[in-house]
Symmetry: D3
Subunit: 208 residues, 6 copies
C-alpha cells in the first residue's frame, strides 16, 4: 500500500492527486488521505507551519499500517524532513520529486505556482535541494489553490510567459491541484511539463 | 517508442537493461540498441571518451525515428550533455536518474560501482549535478563490468561494507549490469537500493 | 517580554537556560516556557519531529502575548523555520545563534553534542546555514541530554579531544543543557567556548 | 577591557560607536581608539587598503594591553582576517557581525550603505562569509561617510526603497556612522534594522 | 611540439589562432590542425556535440605523435573533458584558459561572444569551473563566428556596452576568431581584454 | 616594466624568483623588489599580516613608476586583494596563479608547502578562489621557507607521498622558493608540477 497524504483539508484535491498517482503505480494500491485538521489550502509559510502537526499524525498512522511509500501531496514539501524522520518507508514530496525529474530531463526549468506568497518558499526549497543551477524562475500565476481547476486560463498564460521570457525547455507545475493541466500545457507550448504528482508516483515506482 | 541505447558493445547487457526498462514502462514500447562500435565495456574516462562518437550517431538515429525518450544505459552518463544537444526528446542517463531518485527518497547514499578507475568519473558527475551533499562515498567493488553478473558476491560484500561504514540509508548500484541485483541487495541489507535503469525508466514514465 | 521556549518537557533545563538568558538581557524580562507535551529530551530527528506540534502551539501563544523575541531552546533548531513563519517577532534558535557567533569570532569550530544520533541533524543545519566552511567536526560525547549536568567529565574529555585533533580555535557546546559548562571548559582548554543560549540571548539584545 | 578601533581618522565617529558599544556591554569597559594615520573616511577598496597598516599597529597595541575583545569599527571589515592573525582575543568586524545577526533573525536582508564604490566590497564580503543566500541587495544611498549624520533623510529614503522593492524583512545599516539611525528607521518602516556596532558588541558580550 | 586543434572546419581560423599561439610559445613549435570533418562553425550546443567525434580523433593522433600540450581552439571547450581522458599531455581549452586568466587578474569579468545560442553553453562552463563568482554577464554580439573578422564594429559596440553596464574591469573575448581584436578593444576601452588563445598558450608555456 | 615584489626580506629568494619570471617574460623587463621591512620569511597568518604594510608601500611605488603588471612573490597571496585595490595594472599572486593554472591543465591537484602553520592559510585561499573542487590536499613538508633550497629531499619525499596517496595528476609547489625544484620533481614523478612563479609570469605574459 502506498499512501498519498494531502496536508490540506480539501478532499477533492486528494482524490484528483490519488487518481493520477494510482494511474502511475499500476502494481500498487494507492490510498489518498486528507488531513482534515489542516488548512483548506496551503498558501505561504504560515499555512505550511500550521499544516505540519496534523500531517505528522497521519504520517505516523501510515507508517504503523505498513505503508511502502508515503507521498506528501503539497508542492511546498511542508514537513517533509520531519515526516522522513518518523517513517520507516520512503517519503516523497511532490515538490522535490517534480524538481528532481525536471533536473534529470531538461536543461533549465521555471516553476509556475499559485500565489506570490508561495514563491520564496519554493525558491528556498530548490536551493536546499541543490537544484538552483537548473532553475530559471519561480512564477506566481495569481490563482489561489482552490481555484486552480476553474482558472486554468490564467495559469496557461503564465506558462506561456515563462516560455517567452525565461529561456527554458521545461516547466514544473507548482501546485498539486494542477495535475489535470499537464496535457493541455504540453500540447499548447511544446515545453516539457512536469507534474509533481506524476513525478512522485514514478519515483515511488522505482523504489517501492 | 522509447530507446535505451547501451554505449558499450555488449548485447547481453543491452537486453537485460531493456527488459527492466520495458517492465517499468508498460504503456510504451522499449527498444534496446547496442552501440556496436563502442568499447566492450566502459571502465574509466578513456573508454567513456571513445564511446561518445558511435553513441551520438545512435542518438541522432533514435531522434530521427521519433523516439519519445532516450535512455543512455551507461552509469558514467558519458556523452549525456551532448546527446541532449542533438535530441528533441528527453535524454535520461541511468547514472543521473539513479542519483536524483536516491536524493528524492533518502537522506544519504553511497554508490557501489565496478572498478576504481570509474570512481572519479562518478564523483565528478555527482558534483556537477549538485547532489554531493547527499553523497557519502563512491565505492569500487573491484568487479569488472563484464563480470558483474557472475561475481555478485563481491558486489554484495561491498554493499555490506557501505552499510557498516558509511552512515547511509540508501545505496545506488553504480553499473547498468547490476540491474539484476536489486532484490537480493535490498533483502539482504534492508537498505533502499536504487538501480539506475529502473530510475531512468520511471522518470521517462513521468514525462514521456 | 522575551520568551525562551524549551521544546522538551524537562522543566529543570528550561530554568537553567532562562536564567542564563535573563542574565544576558538585563533590560528585558525573560520568561522560560516548557513544552510539556514535547518529548522528555530531543535526541535525533524522530524526537525533533514529534516536538514540533506542541512547540508551534507555544510559539503562537507567545506571539499573541506580544513577545519581542522568541528563543527556541533546543540545539537541533527543530521547527525553527516554521516558528518564524508564525511569529511576528524575531525567532532565534540556540543552535543557529551558536554557529553564527562562532563564525563571527573564530577561524574554525567543532561542535561537541550529546549522542551520535544528533550528529547528522546538526551537520545538516550547519550546511543549510551556509556555515560549513567554518566547521571542523560535529562530535558526540555519548552523554544523553538528561545526564549532561551529572556527566560533565565525559563532555570535557570530548572537548579536549576536539582541541587535540581538530585544528580549531573555537568549540560550540551542542546542547542547551551544557550552558553551565562554559566557564570550566574555557578555563581548562583556553579555547573560545560558545554556548548557544548566551549566543541567542546576545543576538536578541542586538535586535529586540 | 574591550577595544573598539575605528580604522578611519574621524574621532567623532569613534566616540559615537564606542558609546553604543559600551551601552551593550554593561559589564565591560569599552575604549574607543581612532586610527589617526588612517584615511578620514573609508570609501571603496583603495581607502580600505590604505587603512590596513595603521589599523594593524593598533590591533597589536590592543593585544599587548590585554584586550578581551577587539571590535573593528568599519563596515568594510577591512584588515579583519589579518587582525585576527595578530590578536589572541576575538576580533569582531561590525560588517560581519551585522550580517551574522541578520542571518540569525530574519529571512532575507538588504544592506543600505554610503557610496556606490563600497557596494562591490560589501558584496564580496557577504559571499566570503557564506551568507549570500540571505542577501537581497546591497544598496548605496549616495551619502558620503562623513555626511551620514546630517543627511539621514537620503538614507531613510533608500531604506524605504529597499522595503518596497527587495522582498525583505530585515535591513542592515551599512556604515558604522549610521548607528544613531536605528530607532528612527525601525519606527518608520517596521523592518528589523540591524546596526553592526550593536551586533558586534552583543557578540562580544556572548564570548568575552 | 604543441598542437592547437580547431574543432571547426574553417582553416583560416586555425591559422589565425596558431599564429598567436606560436607568438606566445617562442620555445616551442606550434602546429595548427583543422578538424575538417567538424561543422564550419560551432554555434550552440548541437554544433558542439557534432564536433566532438572528429575532434577526439585528432586528439588521439596528436597524442600518438607525442604532443607536449594540446590546445582546443573552440571557446565552447567542447569535448574538453573527453579529450583529457584520452591524452597523456595537458589539454587546455581556450574558453577555460580565458576564464582562469581573467579570474587571476581582475575583479569581475563579462564575456562577449558571437550568437545568443552560445550564451547558455558558456554560462554552464563557467559555473562548472567554479568561476561564476567572478562573472558579471555573458553577452552575445549577434555576429556569427564566420563574420567575426569583418564585423568587428558590432563586437566592439557590445564590449563598450559591457563596460558601461556591467561593473567590470575585465572582458573576455568569447570566440577564438576574436584573437585579432585584442589590441583595438584594449586601446578603445581601457579594460583588461583577455583572449582565450593567448591565455591557453601562456598556460601551456607554464607547464609544457 | 613588470615588478615582482617579494613580501619577505630575503633577497636571495627575490633574485631566484625574478630570474624565473624574466625567463618566462622575454619581451618585458622584470625587476625583483625585496620588502626589506617585511619578515625574513612568511610562515603562517601572523607573518602574513605583518608583511602587509611594507608590501602595500612597494605596490604603491610600483604603481607610480608605471608597472605593467605586479607579481606578488609569496605563495600565501598575502595582501593580494588590497594590492589590487591600490594598483592600476594587473596584480598577480603566485599562489592564485599556481592554482588557476593547475585547474586549467589537470583533473585534481595537491599542494606541497613548507610548514603546517601555512596549511589552513592556503586551504582558505583555494576555497575563496572557488577552486576547492580541484583540490586533493594541502600538505606540509616540514621544511621552513629559508631551508627550501637545502632540504629538497624532504620536499621531494612529500611530493612522492602525494603521488602515492592523493589520487592526483598535478602537484602545485606551495612556496616561491621551490621554483628551482620543478624539473627534478617532474622528472622523478611524472606528475604535472606547477610552480607559482612560472604560472604568474605566464599569466602576466597573456595580459600585459
Amino acid at each position: 500500500m502506498i499512501v498519498l497524504i494531502n496536508p490540506n483539508a480539501t478532499a477533492a484535491m486528494t482524490q484528483a492527486m490519488a487518481r493520477v498517482a494510482q494511474d502511475h503505480l499500476p502494481r500498487h494500491t494507492v490510498e489518498g488521505w486528507t488531513s482534515t485538521d489542516g488548512p483548506a489550502a496551503i498558501q505561504g509559510p504560515e499555512d505550511g507551519a500550521l499544516a505540519v502537526p496534523p500531517l505528522l499524525s497521519l504520517v505516523q498512522k501510515a507508517n504503523e499500517r505498513g505503508a511502502q511509500a508515503i507521498l506528501i501531496g503539497c508542492f511546498d514539501d511542508t514537513g517533509l524532513s520531519q515526516a522522513r524522520a518518523i517513517a520507516d518507508c520512503p517519503v516523497i514530496g511532490i515538490g522535490q520529486a517534480g524538481y528532481q525529474v525536471a533536473a534529470a530531463v531538461g536543461r533549465r526549468f521555471s516553476v509556475v505556482t499559485t500565489l506570490a506568497v508561495s514563491v520564496p518558499v519554493l525558491e528556498a526549497n530548490i536551493t536546499a535541494y541543490g537544484l538552483d543551477p537548473h532553475l530559471a524562475r519561480v512564477r506566481a500565476s495569481g490563482v489561489p489553490v482552490l481555484q486552480v481547476e476553474t482558472a486554468q486560463h490564467a495559469i496557461l498564460d503564465e506558462i506561456h510567459a515563462a516560455q517567452r521570457e525565461d529561456d527554458i525547455d521545461t516547466v514544473v507545475l507548482g501546485c498539486g491541484g494542477m495535475t489535470t493541466l499537464v496535457d493541455t500545457a504540453q500540447t499548447q507550448t511544446g515545453l516539457r511539463v512536469i507534474d509533481g504528482v506524476r513525478a512522485a508516483a514514478s519515483i515511488a515506482a522505482a523504489v517501492a
